[in-house]
């Protein structure tokens, strides 16, 4: 074991850990670099109409008004704490149990059930609260895998996973390669290949982590694929984590199958116990700042451990209380979910139509806050550099920040994720106009 070895210089500068100096947090990737460009020159309808339009941030602002009007109607000044008023607030502010408010967990369970059209039921006692889905994914990784073990993750995937699953945990990601030949669905061959790749390097695989609906594809995972996945996990005796944070953003409820539905019909505990679901209110409810995430596990040990480890990432009791009454109001949530889906679908159709008119195709999507756009035909070379070159042009010339597929580890170059839910309709139109102009200019040359 090394003793006081010095770094590059010998000035007795105190050193930091490997975790602190590594760049596994991934914040230097183009995914985040584009955000900087936006911060420096943000688009504003009136004050800065030629600024950068942020299309790289998957935020849901289309249904804000529903939340605002609900809260104003139901909770005028003082009544949020009911007849208790100030003492009620105080009692809440003292609550520090890592189990979380029972009322809030019940509300979350009921909300998750509603999103799945009642096709799966959720037990509030299996819900563990964390400060966001980011924390939930990291926590599960700590629990399911040891350092140097691997999780299999289908590509393309959310760039944040590089940080959430790997940074502090020391766990690796081994990609399951998916491509456009079958709409990026996970094939049994790709699964086996990924598993074998890991084994060939003597890496122990502990689980598969999928996002359903997928980020960045904006599409749900087919039921058959889910069943294959579960089967695969049983055969290899590994875990299955399903990150379903966009489940409330599927345009047509019937097109979404949650892994919970599949597990619902299974009695074999040894199968159920390997399934874990991550959820958050950030995307469906458009409340990212609230930092509310959950782990739902069918495995008692995982629930117990997650609960204890959630001490590091607790949700404030005030936030829990605020949301508990809203989420348990089934009339409101039913209306919200329905209208939110409708609005997202319309936005999606607008952008896909608009892109089509400009000669650009997208992957057929049915969920989420973004579309997966194919600009492969515009690349000078079908390489990562070619893709980043194009991304840079789009950022600098069109002043649009979109996310290049390579930052999502996509094995095919030329795909880009374009977010459409974090802006007004007018802004979306302007963005589409810029794209049209760009494509027109290119056609002329």
């Amino acid at each position: 074991m090394m003793e006081r070895s010095s770094n590059n210089n010998n000035n007795n500068v105190v050193e930091l850990s490997r975790v602190a100096v590594s760049d596994t947090h991934g914040e230097d990737s183009p995914y985040f670099a584009g955000w900087k460009a936006y911060d420096e020159n943000p688009y504003d309808e009136s004050h800065n109409p030629s600024g950068v339009i942020q299309m790289g941030l998957a935020e849901n602002q289309v249904s804000f008004d529903l939340l605002e009007s609900y809260l104003e109607k139901k909770n005028p000044e003082g009544s949020m704490w009911g007849s208790k008023g100030a003492p009620g607030f105080r009692e809440n502010a003292l609550f520090q149990d890592y189990h979380g408010l029972k009322s809030f967990r019940q509300a979350m369970a009921s909300f998750m059930q509603q999103i799945r059209g009642g096709k799966a039921s959720f037990d509030p006692d299996r819900i563990v609260l964390t400060a966001g889905a980011t924390a939930a994914n990291e926590l599960l990784t700590f629990i399911l895998a040891d350092p140097n073990d691997a999780l299999l993750v289908p590509t393309p995937y959310y760039p944040g996973f590089d940080r959430d699953l790997r940074w502090r945990t020391g766990v690796r990601i081994v990609p399951i390669h998916c491509d456009s030949s079958n709409h990026f669905q996970i094939t049994p061959e790709a699964l086996e290949q990924a598993y074998q790749t890991a084994r060939d390097s003597n890496i122990r695989v502990r689980g598969v982590l999928i996002t359903n609906p997928s980020n960045p594809l904006g599409a749900t995972v087919q039921k058959k694929v889910l069943e294959n996945l579960l089967d695969f996990c049983v055969r290899k005796n590994i875990h299955l984590v399903s990150d379903e944070i966009y489940s409330g953003s599927v345009f047509h409820a019937s097109e979404f199958t949650s892994v919970a539905e599949i597990v619902e019909n299974i009695d074999d505990v040894s199968v159920k116990e390997r399934v874990h679901i991550v959820y958050s209110l950030s995307k469906d409810l458009g409340l990212p700042g609230f930092r509310v995430g959950t782990i739902y596990s069918y495995n008692d040990n995982v629930v117990r451990t997650a609960r204890r480890m959630s001490s590091f990432t607790l949700v404030s009791s005030q936030t829990q209380h605020m949301l508990a009454s809203m989420l348990s109001d089934e009339e409101f949530t039913e209306k919200y979910i329905r209208i939110n889906r409708e609005r997202l679908r319309r936005r999606y159709e607008t952008i896909v139509e608009g892109l089509k008119k400009a000669g650009i195709e997208c992957l057929k999507g049915n969920a989420g806050l973004f579309c997966w756009m194919n600009l492969g035909f515009l690349l000078h070379t079908k390489t990562k550099e070619g893709e980043l070159e194009l991304w840079d042009v789009i950022l600098k010339e069109l002043k649009l920040n979109i996310s290049p597929g390579s930052s999502c580890h996509c094995s095919e170059y030329g795909w880009f994720r374009v977010c459409f839910a974090n802006m007004s309709e007018k802004t979306l139109d302007i963005a589409l106009e810029r794209i049209h102009e760009f494509m027109d200019r290119r056609r002329k040359f």
């Binding site: 930091l16 966001g132 700042g289």
Partner: protein
């Protein structure tokens, strides 16, 4: 490290090696495989592996017996049984040691197969699950099941274990004076719902910096840009542990120390804690000599020390570290090129200045010293504790090291403070008048309760160390134990819980090397409750005396 067979345990090799039977047979068992060296490849393999495995286990055995003090109960969250079993604690202590060994060993020996589930969880999870039933949590559970209430449940269990400032009523005034802020700030959607920096709003940082300054009587001006906010002190300590040390490294911690460090520092980071015992003969003051010895012993064992964790006011004794202490610690850290984590989460609860010294934040010392290396100093602060709003989960890391700040900011994405809570807190603590009134009233109240408690204990013949800060006192109950041992301490703790119906923290949870000391939190008590507590303790004293 590559392994071809994940579950292969070297135990099977050790069984082959000569570690049983009489001398002759033992010798044969060693010699025969070694003969294989001459006789072919298989023998060569066995002849090399067996002595290696034997040597490896010899080292392991020696390392276990070489430790200065036996590892006490690691802190764990839930408890399943009613009484802590001393023998079980020993085995759990061993478990602690196992996981502090190099990663590869822990993976092999812990063999994470949990019964009842075919699919396994990680070694880290396995450790958390098997974590023993520490008194810390057994007691908490009893309180939950049968909580004391002056009118509603006067015979219930009184919580004197957890260090929370929950009887303080000033916020009631603030809350009833300003219901709009309290309630509606959380409801304002726009500006709150969107992503904000995970490490805290600048407004809140400014308010926290102001609050910290007030707590240190304005001797330091804290720079908000050097603050990183996170969801609780546990997270703050863990983030610093991740930033300052690698897995397999260690921090020095003078004991008795906070029961929470076992979880916060060790659970997920792979960083170990090396306890440096302080003794009652020295009034539990830190001896630089002992610290030095611990550092060099660790170095000899090949363990790299990355820092030292101190708390000021000290948890559990309530002592304030003097400026001399702080300078000495800074020198120590500089000479060995390590970090200092100064846990100042009870800075707002300093109540006994004058007679027992003055509170000086590490930030102040660093400010005034000329040649000091600011980069190695990191301070932890807990707003929730001082404000008596534990449910709101807001703590802070204050550092002079830009790299640490940069890494910490990124890490808070995994443990951010909720927006509505941040906005609420901004309203609560931005008013300088409120902050001043709050800090002053809080201190006066703590002083009153502390004085009552100490007086009452003295009448029962029980002494405490002088406590000038924090929400607790460090009580000497050695005279009540049936035997001067860990077992005696746990027995007494049990009596206090079952007969006295008070939940206190036994010194073993704080890794105190001397049995018989207990941490008693008084911040949960009203002045009337103190006499109730005294009666309960008197009952236990009588029960102990009748048994001796």
């Amino acid at each position: 490290m590559t392994r071809t067979e994940p579950n292969r345990s070297p135990k099977s090799d050790s069984e082959n090696s000569g570690n049983g039977g009489g001398g002759g047979t033992t010798a044969m068992r060693v010699i025969v495989p070694l003969q294989g060296v001459v006789q072919g490849r298989g023998g060569l393999f066995l002849g090399s592996v067996i002595p290696c495995a034997f040597f490896y286990f010899l080292q392991f055995y020696l390392k276990r017996n070489r430790k200065n003090e036996p590892d006490r109960n690691p802190d764990s969250e839930d408890s399943n049984s009613g009484s802590p079993d001393p023998t079980r604690s020993q085995s759990v202590g061993n478990l602690t040691e196992l996981t502090s060994l190099p990663r590869s060993l822990s993976r092999i020996l812990l063999s994470p197969r949990i019964s009842g589930g075919a699919v396994s969880v990680s070694g880290r999870a396995g450790f958390v699950i098997k974590g023993g039933d520490s008194p810390y949590h057994v007691g908490q559970k009893r309180v939950e099941e049968d909580p004391y209430d002056e009118s509603g449940n006067p015979d219930g269990v009184i919580e004197l274990g957890s260090a929370q400032n929950v009887k303080f009523n000033l916020e009631d005034d603030w809350v009833s004076e300003n219901p709009r802020e309290v309630i509606s700030d959380g409801l304002c959607m726009s500006g709150i719902a969107s992503y904000e920096p995970s490490h805290g709003l600048m407004e809140l940082k400014m308010a926290v910096a102001g609050f910290m300054s007030e707590a240190t009587k304005n001797s330091v001006s804290f720079d908000p840009s050097q603050l990183v906010l996170t969801s609780g002190a546990a997270s703050a300590i863990e983030i610093l542990s991740f930033c300052l040390a690698d897995s397999g490294n260690a921090f020095l911690v003078p004991t008795p120390c906070s029961p929470g460090y076992d979880r916060d520092v060790k659970w997920r980071t792979g960083v170990d804690l090396i306890h440096v015992p302080c003794r009652s003969a020295d009034n539990f003051n830190i001896s630089m000599l002992v610290l030095d010895r611990a550092f060099y012993q660790a170095k000899k064992r090949g363990v790299r020390i990355r820092g030292i964790i101190i708390s000021n006011p000290w948890n559990p004794t309530g002592t304030l570290l003097s400026r001399e202490n702080l300078y000495a610690l800074l020198d120590f850290a500089r000479e060995r090129n390590i970090h200092i984590i100064s846990n100042e989460i009870f800075a707002g609860a300093v109540h006994g200045e004058g007679g027992g010294g003055e509170f000086a934040s590490m930030a102040e010392v660093v400010d005034t010293e000329e040649n000091v290396d600011k980069e190695r100093v990191h301070i932890i602060y807990d707003l929730s504790k001082d404000l008596s709003f534990p449910g709101l989960r807001t703590a802070a890391i204050y550092s002079f090291n830009d790299n640490v700040l940069s890494a910490s900011r990124k890490l808070t994405k995994l443990s951010p403070v909720s927006s509505p809570t941040q906005h609420l807190l901004v309203s609560a603590i931005s008013s300088p008048k409120f902050v001043q009134r709050f800090v002053k009233t809080n201190r006066e109240r703590l002083m009153r309760i502390y004085t009552e408690l100490v007086k009452g204990l003295k009448e029962l013949g029980i002494e405490c160390t002088r406590s000038n800060g924090g929400l607790f006192c460090w009580v000497d109950m050695r005279g009540l134990m049936s035997s001067y041992s860990e077992k005696g301490e746990i027995e007494l703790w049990n009596k206090l819980l079952k007969i006295g119906k008070i939940n206190v923290i036994p010194g073993s949870c704080c890794h105190c090397i001397e049995p018989g000391w207990f941490r008693v939190c008084f911040s949960n008590l009203s002045e009337r409750d103190v006499s109730v507590v005294m009666n309960r303790i008197r009952k236990v004293c009588e029960s102990c005396k009748s048994q001796h």
